[in-house]
């Protein structure tokens, strides 16, 4: 009954939700939302590179996101506050990407698909790459979970336990860049950070441990993906934004629930 492309879209969305849930928790805990934005916006620059050199979008985006992330890490802590620096990096990369695309000879590129995603256009190869990226993030998170938690709580505490904090920071950054590459076709560069922080933020009020929070974030992201796809199919709304709207609605509900509960307790 369902068309093939809808199945591929759903599976791609599920794969993204599985990785974005727990990784998004780290973005929220470590206050990396702006960092995520800068990395995600660099993706447009990556798209320009991919089109210019005729390489895979995933590779171009991954390289651009990684380059941006490591550039920020090496520049942070000098002269400017980190949010200023990230603001410059995020918007500068986005603007540069938008300008760079116009220099590519040949077909006129419609950037909307890369800015807001085009999940319904996900092909078989795309789906395979998205699943592989998502799975590698999940495996890494599973292996390094305790270490990353300790590092997030206190870097000195992690160091005292023999954890190489630089290395773990680097791994977290790489995972973020992979997620950007995975998500670009699904929700687009502008809404990638939304998929990271909104499900995690929605999970916070109903969670008592980091593990429940990341589990609930996965469920919230899954519900948002399915609801967004359904809305998009029913009313012909843009899919990426519809998914984010659904996630935001979940966040509003969770916050309201927390508010009501705290009123009852006092």
């Amino acid at each position: 009954m369902l068309d093939d492309f809808l199945w591929r879209a759903t599976l791609a969305g599920i794969a993204l939700a599985l990785a974005a849930g727990p990784l998004g928790c780290f973005v929220v805990w470590r206050r990396m939302a702006y960092f995520g934005d800068a990395t995600a916006h660099a993706a447009i620059l990556g798209v320009a590179l991919s089109l210019g050199f005729s390489i895979s979008i995933f590779i171009g985006v991954l390289v651009a996101a990684l380059a941006m992330a490591f550039m920020i890490l090496s520049f942070s802590g000098r002269m400017f506050a980190i949010d200023t620096l990230l603001g410059v990096a995020a918007h500068g990369a986005l603007a540069l990407g938008l300008v760079a695309v116009t220099f590519i000879p040949g077909v006129r590129v419609d950037l909307t698909a890369y800015l807001f995603g085009d999940i319904l256009a996900v092909g078989y190869v795309d789906l395979l790459i998205i699943c592989a990226g998502s799975a590698s993030i999940l495996v890494l998170l599973r292996l390094r979970w305790e270490r990353l938690l300790l590092l997030t709580l206190n870097a000195d505490l992690a160091a005292a336990r023999g954890i190489d904090t630089r290395r773990e920071n680097m791994i977290l950054t790489i995972m973020l860049a992979v997620l950007v590459a995975v998500a670009i076709k699904i929700v687009g560069a502008l809404l990638i950070t939304a998929m990271l922080i909104i499900p995690a933020a929605a999970a916070r009020p109903v969670s008592r441990t980091p593990e429940t929070m990341s589990g609930v974030a996965v469920v919230a992201a899954l519900v948002a993906v399915v609801a967004g796809l359904w809305t998009s199919f029913q009313w012909d709304t843009p899919t990426g934004p519809s998914i984010v709207v659904a996630a935001s609605a979940l966040f509003a509900m969770a916050s309201l629930f927390a508010l009501v509960r705290s009123k009852h307790m006092h």
């Binding site: 929220v28 505490l157 160091a159 005292a160 933020a201 008592r208 441990t209 980091p210």
Partner: protein
Amino acid sequence: MSLIQTQGVGVLVGSRQILRDVDLSVRRREIVTVVGPNGSGKTTLLKVLIGAQAPSEGVVIREAGLRIGYVPQRLAIDQAMPLTVARWLGLSGTSDKEVHLLVAEQVGISGLLKQQMVSLSGGEFQRALLAQALLIRPDLLVLDEPTQGLDQPAVASFYRLIEEVREDLNCAVLMVSHDLHVVMRSSDHVICLNGHVCCQGTPTLVSAAPEYQALFGFGTEGALALYRHEHDHRHDHAKESDRDAG
């Protein structure tokens, strides 16, 4: 054989020399306390010892497989991270609930295991931090101003707890403290730090040293100690012989 030892350790941040020429060593079962005024590099020294900061000069030698239990001066848990005391203890790497309960009872937080870390009072939070450090069964317990913000009876009971822990785990304790009187009573070795090691040795020796007097400037008490010091001409060498005897 010492658990941990530094040789000529210096730390340079930008063009500022935070620490220079620090030589120290901590042996098993020893309680070593670092005292010094604000900005004297105490926290930096601890960070170098636990491996969180690389020294600009000199070396840190740790016994192979040394397990360090660290209690930071401050640990700000973001409101966005839900964390029960029980889960916090689980981050020690020991998942045995009975052992958790045992240690929680020892430090007096067994009734708080289901609480969120951010909801604890200052004293409770400090104990929860200590409990996790104990759960890794450390060879060396490193505490950065562990009694900060505690009232007098709480400070006294905290130091009793530390001595008890030393007996239980057979570990060494290295701490930074401002509670000079308690320090002088319960430490085996005191290091007086002000960018460099001004003086170190047994509490009696250090409290008598003119360098210590100059830093903490106790009026008549200082004069008395200085008098005592005059009778001890072996001051510089005594440091060494004293350490060897201990």
